[in-house]
Amino acid sequence: MIDFINKILEVFAAELSENYKPEQGRYDGWLEAQDLIFADTPVDRRSAARISHEFIKRMLGEADEDKWQKAGELRDLYDCHSCVNHIAQVYVKGIMTAAEPGIFGNKNILNAEEAGEIIMRMKYPDMRVNLLREPEYSSKAYSKDSEKTHMPKAEISGQEAPKSGASEETAARAIKLTDIKDVRKILEANPSAILIDVRSRGEYEEKHLDEAVNYPMAEIVNCFENTSVTDSNKLWEIQKDAIILLYCEKGYQSEIAANCLTEAGYGNVYFFGL
């Protein structure tokens, strides 16, 4: 639970006052006492729905959707009477999807990846799942772990990074790097590797890694969400088997962007936080 809350605070650092502590959330009304008393427990979907809904409403001023009839297709919508509105709102706004068709999955536990996706959708309305679109398309970008094949970790020994070996049907997985030395090794071994800074323009201009180009995460995501390709979008020019490394501050945004790329067919994608 505390991880989920801290992630929100980090992603929304700009919108919140300096040094905003989780306890402040109780005063501002988007957190309940139990969220902090049971900080170690994993966050379940209904709690995530409540917290994300209350946060965007109270802290970002985002109004509720008046028409939430679509939420009626969730058979477990009314199971928890105090959660109904939160679940309906996050569902209709596209911030949280159903766990399986017709079931929201109140008590299901969110893993770190799912939690990260939800927070990103809170921040970037463009990333929200548009329920009017065909479900296959929108679920493709945000499929759960189980739907992707697990690739072995890349050999980082000064040799060329291996090709993904991904089959036609299943996408390769983006690989998280935890040691900056591994990043250097890959870059040294692969001169044609592309290093991308996914933070905002301003953050990039203030300071960035040598050789890194700047593509803010939202742009990358939009690029692969939209069916039309624009000339100015250089990303499309990159070969599908190119070695791409993405980074941001904490590793959340670069992870989202990396997943976007792997979904689009890029086979050698890595990401890391500074």
Partner: protein, 933 residues
């Protein structure tokens, strides 16, 4: 000449004598043990060995059991021992128990005049044998002296050579058998400790590893056929581990495990110390409740050596006294309930629902409560500050003078954990505490209400439900001066309520039934599903078997509230004389709505019914796999007998739980007048039983899920397919008038949504008129700071004339006596099509009646071409409510009636005796009072 084989055989023959020590005179067994010990540890020379062996054989030949020896209680029926089959040969006499060994236990009990404190199952170490004497038998003697019913366990010993799952299965079985016989042993079924010594300690852990939580014998032994013992919990409530901690490199899998509080007693010179040191951090990391005692200078295996007359380690002899304190502490804090209550009092049973008798001195004569509730207004964002402001607003607006008096804190005000076992205030939202807030509200002349839950947790998850804590919580409510208590059923243990385990349906539905067989003297009768009659509603008979024997779930709007809410399968059996018979069923168990595992079996109806079975049946493999039940003893009378297979536990369990809370309130504050608002959302059809313990009962899920917040009025709907709308609630409540009254209580179609977005002014006026006519509780749910005297909202909620209808001394809710959509019985038909006009009639204490003409459609109603259909005559009124009116004859005979419009105040005179409207705006109402002029 030393004969190795002779020694092995003799010592092997001695084992049962040691293990059965409770059956013999102690001095005689000690003689045998002395020689056995010398052979095992004394290093005698060969000649001495042979002498000792001969003496042992002589002793054993002459040993006789005492006349009052305890009975051997075998753990498993022949052929039903769950076994892995790996142990087949003991010809080298390596092990104490041969492959044919049948595990058993001895009950060693406190005297009849002593009230037992609980049960302790005792498992000695090693391969049992003579360890049984000091670790097993002596411990039993010590614990009996401390007041515990003891059970000396002779199970298949762990690793000698049996597998931990087999050893654990025997331990688990012994535990289940003791729990199942709790009444016989005069103990609480949920107060059972397990004392394991050395290897016996490992057995205790095996029992927890494999058989705690929801695991059963069948989890680990696929072919095992469950019996009635398997419906009891097979792991201990506390563990006493005497020098038997897990080996330091052993793995323990905590998933699926419920690890009970554990007490360790280990000597510091014990070779098990490194194991203890390795295990403790792991247990602590998994939040196991621990008490640990180590003893200087004490090596392994020294517990209970007093039985041999030895007192080498006097400090270590104290561990039973310390364990006693530990166990009592655990037992007293535990509120574990593993089964719904026994319902000894027939007043709590379905057959008593129609008798009109209230329970526990429930006060009658309460008019519908009026006040303000925080939920619709502020949801879980309500605070002490807001509540005080609402209290002030009630006074400023003069609402208190109109009857609004209960200020109720709904969900969201408690700290999510108990503090020292008690409810506590959420400290940011309610910093001053509940007593201070209660005092403030009382100082303004108003009354204070709070909220709780008959389950273990409140809906949002806070672990402060009253289940098991009723007495403590009732005392807190009494101390805080609570005048009103609203109680829901989230996380309820004995039904598949909101957030409860959906498998709890097993408690409230009978198994699927294929047939029954009744046998007695010269009598045998087999009946199948085809021979069954259905009593009530809902039972499904597909020709082969019967299902859905239980009570409808009333939370949703699909089903009418009128008529039978449950069904039974009834077999008629003719008996030649009054006699005892045996009944067996062919059945299959499930854990879902429609097919459960709990059977009630009664013979006869109403006051003459006799209940012969009210419990789980042993589980079948799955809901399609039928099996035979154990024989149930029944008694039939001469002539026709109705054998009823049923399950009314959905209603009975819930009634019992609410009653427990009422009893707690009665005990905490005798002669209190606390209004008890039952809020299980209609799930268990409370209109049938709510009057016995409560003042009102919710009839459906919530009227809105889009509650407000500070600065947000929330959202209400006029119509909805499910429950959140004015019409959904009205449509069900309007035909439930016969369930309500001053001597019973009130149907509760949920709180008022007046003031919310989404409802026009007409909708809000009609909402108020409906609730007033139906004698519903009038609980405001808006931010009263938004209201000014004589503004639109004020004029609705402060309509004194309408309120007077709701608070009329006669206490009779309105009856629907006409509807454009009715097929002939407007008062009982469940109509959900909202394009219609209804007319309600309500008799009043002063002899008048109130009539309400309600257009539910979202279009204006205009009477077509003089058909004057929206009309009722005096005759119509008398037909439906004449028997409830105060002065029917006068009303019927009158020539002129005075009509007062309760919205406009306009008065007219009516001489026709026919009351009609020709036009009604969308969602609007005309409500009038009719009195004889």
């Amino acid at each position: 000449m030393f004969d190795e084989r002779y020694m092995k055989e003799t010592m092997h023959k001695a084992v049962p004598f040691f293990e059965d020590a409770p059956c013999y005179e102690l001095e005689e067994i000690l003689e045998l043990q002395k020689r056995n010990a010398e052979l095992a540890w004394g290093h005698p020379d060969n000649e001495r060995k042979m002498l000792l062996l001969d003496e042992m054989n002589d002793l054993m030949k002459n040993l006789k059991q005492r006349s009052d020896a305890p009975e051997k209680i075998y753990l498993w029926e022949d052929g039903k021992l769950p076994a892995l089959g790996n142990y087949t040969d003991n010809s080298d006499l390596k092990y104490n128990h041969d492959p044919e060994f049948k595990p058993y236990m001895y009950a060693i009990l406190v005297p009849e005049d002593v009230t037992p404190k609980g049960a302790v199952v005792v498992c000695a170490g090693g391969d049992h044998g003579d360890c049984t004497m000091h670790e097993g038998y002596q411990t039993c003697r010590d614990m009996v002296a401390l007041g515990y019913q003891c059970f000396l366990l002779l199970n298949r010993t762990n690793n000698c050579p049996y597998d931990a799952r087999e050893a654990g299965a025997d331990a688990s079985r012994a535990i289940r058998m003791v729990r199942a016989n709790a009444a016989k042993y005069r103990i609480d079924e949920n107060k059972l400790a397990f004392a394991g010594f050395s290897n016996g300690g490992l057995t205790a852990e095996a029992c927890v590893q494999y058989y705690s939580g929801t695991q059963t014998i069948k989890t680990h032994f696929e072919d095992y056929e469950p019996c009635e013992y398997d419906n009891y919990y097979g792991s201990p409530d506390a563990i006493i581990c005497v020098y038997g901690p897990r080996f330091k490199d052993a793995k323990f899998d905590y998933t699926n495990v419920v690890y009970p509080p554990t007490f360790f007693a280990v000597g510091k010179d014990d070779f098990a110390m490194p194991n203890l040191e390795a295990t403790l951090p792991d247990l602590m990391a998994h939040h196991v409740n621990l008490e640990v005692h180590t003893f200087a200078g004490v090596p392994h295996g020294q517990s209970g050596i007093q039985i041999y007359g030895e007192h080498k380690y006097p400090a270590f002899e104290l561990w039973p006294i310390m364990a006693d304190q530990f166990i009592q502490n655990v037992f007293s804090k535990s509120v574990i309930k593993r089964r719904p209550d026994e319902l000894d009092n027939p007043e709590y049973r379905f057959d008593a629902f129609d008798n009109g008798k209230a329970l526990l001195q429930k006060k009658k004569g309460h008019l519908p409560p009026m006040g303000w509730n925080s939920w619709n207004a502020f949801g879980s964002g309500n605070t002490e500050k807001l509540t005080k402001e609402m209290t002030d607003a009630v006074l400023e607006l003069g609402l208190d003078k109109l009857g609004y008096k209960y200020m109720v804190l709904d969900d969201g005000c408690y700290k999510p954990v108990r503090v020292e076992g008690k409810l506590s205030n959420e400290d940011i939202k309610f910093p001053g505490g509940f007593k201070a807030l209660s005092d403030y509200i009382h100082s303004k002349g108003l009354k204070f209400g709070m909220y709780n839950d008959i389950g273990t947790n409140l809906c949002a998850g806070a672990a402060v439900g009253t289940c098991g804590h009723e007495a403590v919580d009732a005392q807190c409510y009494a101390d805080w001066g609570v005048d009103f208590l609203k109680v829901d059923n989230c996380y309820y243990l004995w039904d598949n309520a909101t957030f409860s385990d959906s498998a709890n349906a097993k408690y409230v539905f009978a198994p699927a039934i294929k047939g029954i067989k009744v046998t007695g003297n010269d009598f045998s009768l087999e009946l199948t599903a085809k021979d069954a009659c259905i009593r009530g509603e809902g039972v499904i008979n597909n020709g082969e078997y019967l299902t859905n024997i239980g009570t409808f779930d009333g939370t949703g709007p699909a089903h009418t509230p009128v008529g039978a809410m449950s069904g039974e399968a009834v077999f008629t059996v003719e008996a030649g004389s009054d006699a005892d018979f045996e009944l067996t069923l062919t059945y299959a168990t499930g854990t879902e709505e429609g097919i459960g595992s709990w059977l009630q079996l009664a013979v006869g109806e109403g006051e003459n019914s006799e209940l012969f079975y009210d419990d789980f049946l042993p589980a079948s493999d799955n809901k399609e796999s039928f099996r035979e039940s154990p024989a149930i003893k029944i008694r039939l009378k001469k002539g026709k007998n109705l054998i009823r297979l049923m399950n009314h536990r959905r209603q009975e369990n819930t009634l019992a739980s609410y009653a427990t809370l009422l009893k707690g309130l009665n005990d905490a504050k005798p002669d209190h007048d606390i209004i008890f608002s039952i809020c299980e959302w209609g799930k268990t059809q409370p209109q049938n039983w709510g009057y016995k313990v409560g003042d009102s009962w919710r009839i459906l899920n919530d009227i809105t899920f889009r509650v407000g917040a500070d600065g947000d009025p929330g959202y209400g709907s006029w119509t909805d397919d499910y429950t959140p709308s004015v019409c959904s609630q009205y449509n069900k409540a309007v035909i439930m008038d016969e369930f309500a009254g001053l001597d019973k209580g009130w149907n509760d179609p949920d709180m008022l949504m007046i003031g919310m977005n989404g409802l026009t002014e007409n909708m809000q006026r009609t909402h108020m008129a409906m609730w007033c006519m139906m004698n519903a509780p009038l609980m405001l749910g808006l931010d009263l700071r938004r209201v000014k005297k004589n503004d639109a909202i004020y004029n609705i909620i402060a309509n004194e004339q309408l309120i007077l209808l709701n608070q009329d001394a006669l206490g009779i809710p309105a009856k629907r006596i006409f509807s454009t959509a009715s097929k002939g019985c407007p008062d009982t038909e469940y109509i959900r099509d909202n394009s219609r006009v209804d007319i309600l009639a309500k008799p009043l204490a002063d002899g008048g009646i109130a009539l309400s003409f309600i257009n539910l459609a979202e279009e204006k109603y205009v009477c077509a071409d003089n058909n004057f259909e929206i009309a009722v005559s005096v005759a119509d009124i008398v037909k439906y409510i004449g028997h409830k009116m105060v002065n029917t004859a006068e009303f019927e005979a009158a020539k002129e009636y005075l009509l007062t419009d309760l919205w406009s105040g306009a008065r007219t005179v009516n001489c026709s005796g026919k009351f009609m409207v020709n036009e009604l705006e969308a969602c609007d109402n005309i409500t009038i009072k009719v009195t004889v002029k």
